[in-house]
Assembly symmetry: C2
Amino acid sequence: MNPNYTPLYQALTYRFKQEHYLTTALTHRSAGTPNNERLEFLGDALLNCITAQTLFERFPNAREGELTRMRANLVKRDTLVQIAQHLALGQYLRLGGGELKTGGNGRASILSDTVEAIIGGIYLDSSMNTCQSVILQLWKKFFNNLSQRKIKDPKSRLQEYLQSKQQPLPTIPIYRVLNINGTDHAQLFKVECLVPGLSQSTYGSGESRRRAEQSAAAKALKVLNVD
Amino acid sequence: MNPNYTPLYQALTYRFKQEHYLTTALTHRSAGTPNNERLEFLGDALLNCITAQTLFERFPNAREGELTRMRANLVKRDTLVQIAQHLALGQYLRLGGGELKTGGNGRASILSDTVEAIIGGIYLDSSMNTCQSVILQLWKKFFNNLSQRKIKDPKSRLQEYLQSKQQPLPTIPIYRVLNINGTDHAQLFKVECLVPGLSQSTYGSGESRRRAEQSAAAKALKVLNVD
């Protein structure tokens, strides 16, 4: 007999039609075979892909490096453990005796692997689209955090920070192109960022004026200790 | 005006409806923006996911480690470069002056990144299903190579190898369980593999008799220098 999965289905916003996929996803290798190792392989790939697709769509102006960083943030172990805790996975895990005794149902690696295995199981039990919906629902908070903070570009963040300070007069950063090297499609801009009241300038370079300014602004944020 | 993409469409077994996706996919960052960096991010994730899904389906008995190794083989740079050469990508690349002069259109990193970017472009131009079909067609040879050789388990390969040798009498390996340790779900089997005519036995252990035998057979293949 299976345990009562109803609370888990509610937290997942998904009800398994073929419950054996869920049971396998919850089975750690210490409990024998079949276990969740293959599902984890599949779920890891799906999670990576679905987060990549979503970030690509939602952040049309983010560069590849920024997309990579955001995805790493969404799929890192710490995030997966938070999802596992939200699902209260610890109480459903099927562990071997040794793992059970040594607290395996609270271990980060086991919890995060199980989240991936459940994603693999949902895909097999339904479709890519359903799997995507479940992920977007479970990860909603983490996607929103990205949108609110990480994603704002450094120039906007610097401007907002300076405006938020109670200065006698509003302060805005000043950008100045120092030089442009190279020709045609291989130009390199060097830009200075001056923040009134800040004793040191910061500098940035890039393939366009905009990128060089963003780089200089990012450095000013560092000097100001604004994360 | 775009170059004549007809031969590329034939090699790809796909014709872009929105050709700007292909043009962007072929544009290296050295040629300015928009370039293929974002599409490469997307295509890399899609390729990883589609190869994982395919391997999972095609090799229902492969363990997670084997699936991971096979996927690494399918998505490694060397494989991507072979795909790029099949597509004759070098002649379509859009590179900046510096990259062009230094042979960028033959560089492995540029070719393999561009293959990923084209996959991202096909997905945006069509659907996940179409993207999958194109990948399976382009990678057909590589998937077949996996099926024919890598995937056979060590016991089967050892048996086939011994049968292929022109011995006076057919030779088969003999497996013997030496001991079983542990209890319940945490048993550990130790198995000896005896190959008639081979002076040394080999040994393997595992969580089941079958796995221990596979491990011992793998070691016998090593001793026999069979890859």
